[in-house]
Symmetry: C2
Subunit: 166 residues, 2 copies
């Protein structure tokens, strides 16, 4: 499976990235780092609070549901969800436990590989994804969308994305 090759390559490239202990960031870089951390934390806290106020589960649940809903046949392998959501493997495994317990997803065997599983979203899961989006989307709009024009948002998103590509 192609994923194997990719993974080994990724790991190998990560291993040789030992920090150069001699360099120091510029004041501008440091300001950007702090701004990035603070902005994300404050917005995330505000949005998570809106979800909690509406008696909805935390964002991680939404991320998983969204990936499943948009996936073909409403199913993915755990490692695919992991890659999309950036959740750690063991955290995802347990998040899926909770979501399965809540009836939002189901796990089934993956016949082509005895180690694997399918994770499928249930009807209740689809309904929950939509219910969460009602609140989540409104919250994103209120805390973020209202603060800037779409053109600025797009440009800013592009600049942020460049920080982690290449």
């Amino acid at each position: 499976m192609l994923a194997i090759t990719v993974k080994m390559h990724v790991i190998a490239s990560m291993l040789d990235s030992s920090p150069d202990q001699t360099r120091t960031p510029s004041a501008a870089t440091t300001r950007l780092w702090i701004a990035l951390m603070r902005t994300q934390r404050i917005l995330l806290a505000a949005i998570e609070q809106d979800l909690k106020a509406a008696d909805l589960p935390p964002l991680g649940w939404y991320d998983v549901l969204w990936e499943l809903v948009r996936a073909e046949k409403g199913r993915l392998r755990p490692f695919e969800i992991e890659a999309h959501t950036l959740l750690a493997q063991h955290n995802l495994s347990r998040l899926l436990d909770r979501m399965e317990e809540a009836g939002l997803v189901r796990r089934e065997v993956f016949p082509q590989d005895g180690r694997g599983r399918w994770v499928l979203v249930t009807e209740a899961g689809r309904a929950m994804q939509q219910r969460i989006w009602t609140v989540y989307g409104a919250s994103i709009e209120r805390h973020l969308g209202e603060k800037l024009a779409d053109a600025d948002a797009d440009q800013l998103a592009g600049q942020l994305a460049r920080l982690i590509r290449g």
Copy 2:
């Protein structure tokens, strides 16, 4: 004390911010939200990993040490640290337990208010702050600083800051 007035004002303003459930974010806003979350998470994970690889404590410890080192007389009240670092009160309280146990800070009574405490950074704490910065700074530079020019960083930091002001 001024802090009282501020707090009540902040709480009051937060309480009336009920989400408008009817609005939905634009595609641009949603892209920005996702970019912000992903970029912050990926960079933070990379940097925390560098710290761990150097056998240093997590970033929260640095944030507290930094606030104390820069503060007059190397001391602050817990609620001041809380405000600067965005740590939750109970989390800070326990973080300070651990840091005190590690000999990096000390708690002393605050005579002017029987409820309060001083948190002071020790010599070991100052040394640790510098030791962490060696690695942390290099890591910021490598993961972030190298990706863009200072002018771009400054501009980007300004745009991010605008998202949480007003």
